[in-house]
């Protein structure tokens, strides 16, 4: 099966905050999004998730530098003329951000904004575009959509604005939705509504989703495939069930064990130290300073992202893999049984 989106060896650099030169916020990132699949990109703050996502549609401005290739529909988006890219942006690939206020226009009603997208991309007449906008608001679960279409963004709650954003993103039936922390700013009951909505729309429309999040609960609920990022690198990739049942990279295991294990022991197995800022990671394996499995050779050379014990569906960037039975018992759920 060929991938819908294929990111190859992506590197994103910014000028260093101190001194001359550039630092890499994402480094050698390769990942695929197969058709009809939800792929998760998970990691802590500053690991490079957002810069990776923004690079796909060339939304990073200079002095940021982006290298590598982003293949979509037989083309490298990083080399496409701006005009051709615009035809893909918002049409075949749509993006939803954490804070919808930054991407909604405050002086237009939400109906006008969605209708505008429809008119641009489907060349529909005004009337039909408005009708489609109202229909999208209904699809994303906004009650009284015909009235709400006439509301301005500030007249809606955070959850409704996020729905509007998703409605706008989906109005053109994209093949790929990139969602960067789409529920992080929302209350948990509203988050549940949005995640359910994304799942339903994906099933109905057959689109793919690249979901960026720091929340392992959200990953478990929505993703098929998971990429774990640390300090600009993908350090582990596997189908979602394996990430949770048999994490092979010590960082992934650390993340899972540091979740408040609701009923479990009072002490969490925290990862010592903190995520390094770009350019300040140790030589060799970037996780070495915080890793409980570190060996001398970890610091000598950085391990490659490779099949773990020959398993081609499960990749890890580690020369001392976590044994398969490491996770003591399943991570417990927060919901009542």
């Amino acid at each position: 099966m060929t991938a819908l989106l294929d990111i190859v060896d992506l590197a994103v650099s910014f000028p260093a905050s101190e001194g001359p030169g550039m630092v890499r916020a994402a480094d050698g990132v390769s990942l695929e999004v197969p058709p009809g699949t939800t792929v998760g990109l998970v990691g802590e703050s500053g690991s490079g998730k957002t810069v990776t996502a923004l690079s796909i549609l060339r939304l990073l401005e200079p002095p940021a530098q982006v290298r590598g290739a982003v293949r979509f529909g037989g083309k490298n988006l990083l080399e496409l003329p701006e005009r051709e890219l615009r035809a893909i942006r918002g049409n075949r690939i749509a993006m939803v951000f954490q804070d919808p206020m930054t991407s909604l226009n405050p002086v237009l009603t939400v109906g006008e904004q969605i209708a505008e997208v429809v008119r641009l991309h489907e060349k529909r007449p005004r009337r039909a575009a408005w009708a489609r906008a109202v229909e999208m608001l209904e699809t994303v679960g906004i009650s009284s959509p015909a009235q709400r279409a006439r509301a301005y963004p500030h007249e809606l709650s955070g959850g409704m604005r996020q729905r509007v954003m998703i409605g706008m993103a989906l109005a053109c039936k994209p093949d790929l939705l990139i969602a960067d922390e789409p529920t992080t700013a929302l209350d948990v009951t509203v988050q549940a509504q949005i995640l359910e909505l994304l799942r339903r729309l994906r099933a109905d429309m057959g689109m793919s989703v690249l979901l960026i999040t720091h929340d392992l609960g959200v990953v478990a609920e929505t993703c098929d495939l998971v990429n774990v990022m640390y300090a600009g690198r993908i350090v582990e990739r596997a189908p979602v069930a394996r990430i949770f049942a048999t994490p092979r990279h010590p960082y992934t295991l650390g993340l899972l064990s540091s979740m408040p294990d609701f009923a479990g022991p009072r002490r969490l197995r925290a990862i010592p130290g903190a995520v390094p800022v770009p350019g300040k990671h140790p030589p060799g394996c970037r996780f070495a300073d915080r890793c409980e499995r570190v060996l001398d050779r970890c610091r000598a050379a950085e391990p490659a992202l490779e099949p773990a014990d020959g398993d081609r569906a499960h990749l890890a960037r580690c020369c001392n893999l976590v044994p398969k039975e490491a996770l003591s018992g399943p991570v417990r759920a927060g919901a009542p049984s």
Binding site: G159, A192, G217, L256, A270
Partner: protein, 317 residues
């Protein structure tokens, strides 16, 4: 509980005005925390958790009701006594960088309480600060640093050291781990659990994170639009929630286990605004069980034994 609770709030309300309209951010809340106990306070944004926490320390004025801390009527204290009492009631905030003066060094930030209450000076002062930093796991090298030179986790630890410097008996923690990364959040939670045991601290732990609250609390109170909807020992609440809102909240939490994937049964809509709360039970527009009476009549929080719920249908069982 044989001893009287360390902290007791009775029918506390806090009112604010927005666009010249008064509204109750906290509306008739009663709660008690025993010596050495950790009460978790959960709720979604705008439910009034932080305001309640601040009202208990009289950092915002009470519109009505009483707060008793040890033998003191907190609402009635004169300024001097209140200042002295602040030593025993401290607060840790979500955003340590906003709570720490950016022009003060770590040394002075942690020592500030010692200075105000004249607890130590000179070499004794520095020694106390060093000991506190060691206890919260911040390297001594950070003493001359300014807040912006620290990581988020370090800043939060400095905020905790600062609160502990005056040896409080009550710590109100307002989302102390919400701004932290997963790996660092676990470190700070471990620290709080250790400190509580070493110092027999009494805590009110405010958070929207159900995992965190289940991990750290002995008992949990669930807030919605300024009122407590349910209160129960932690395990009882998570294993058998009674109030329809608590059930909805727990059912909405993503489960970190892909083999347990479920269809979310999220309640419809969003919390109404405290500016304009629904009539009767504030949850009735979203409640799957609502009956006609719910829109008319506000249910009282009925406490039976260790549990309580404010619901016409699920109040007593």
């Amino acid at each position: 509980m044989s001893e009287a609770p360390l902290l007791e709030a009775t029918d506390v309300s806090v009112r604010f005005a927005l666009r010249r309209r008064a509204f109750a951010a906290v509306d008739g809340v009663s709660l008690a925390i025993a010596q050495g106990e950790t009460l978790g306070l959960v709720g979604e944004s705008g439910s009034g958790k932080s305001t309640l926490g601040r009202a208990l320390l009289r950092l915002v004025p009470l519109a009505s009701g009483r707060v008793r801390f040890a033998e003191h009527d907190v609402g009635a204290l004169d300024p001097a006594t209140l200042r002295a009492l602040r030593r025993r009631m401290q607060m840790v905030f979500q955003d340590a960088s906003a709570a720490l003066n950016p022009r003060m060094t770590v040394l002075d930030l942690v020592a500030e309480g010692l200075d105000i209450h004249q607890l130590a000076r000179g070499p004794e002062r520095a020694a106390r600060v060093r000991a506190l930093l060691a206890q919260v796991g911040v390297d001594e090298g950070a003493l001359p640093a300014y807040p912006h030179e620290l990581s988020g986790g370090q800043r939060q630890r400095v905020g905790i050291a600062r609160a502990l410097a005056v040896e409080p008996s009550l710590l109100v923690c307002d989302e102390p781990t919400s701004a932290l990364d997963a790996s660092v959040r676990a470190q700070v939670l471990n620290l709080l659990v250790d400190l509580r045991e070493q110092r027999r601290l009494t805590m009110l732990f405010i958070t929207h994170d159900l995992g965190v609250v289940r991990h750290i609390s002995d008992r949990v109170a669930v807030m919605y639009l300024g009122r407590i909807f349910e209160e129960a020992p932690t395990e009882a609440l998570f294993e058998a929630p009674r109030h329809p809102y608590t059930r909805a909240l727990l059912a909405s939490a993503p489960v970190p286990d892909p083999t347990q994937r479920k269809a979310f049964v999220a309640p419809k809509g969003e919390a109404a605004s405290a500016l304009d709360p629904p009539s009767g039970c504030a949850f009735h527009p979203r409640c799957p069980d609502a009956v006609e009476r719910c829109a008319r009549e506000r249910p009282a929080l009925v406490r039976i034994g260790a549990r309580g719920a404010a619901c016409h249908l699920h109040g007593a069982a």
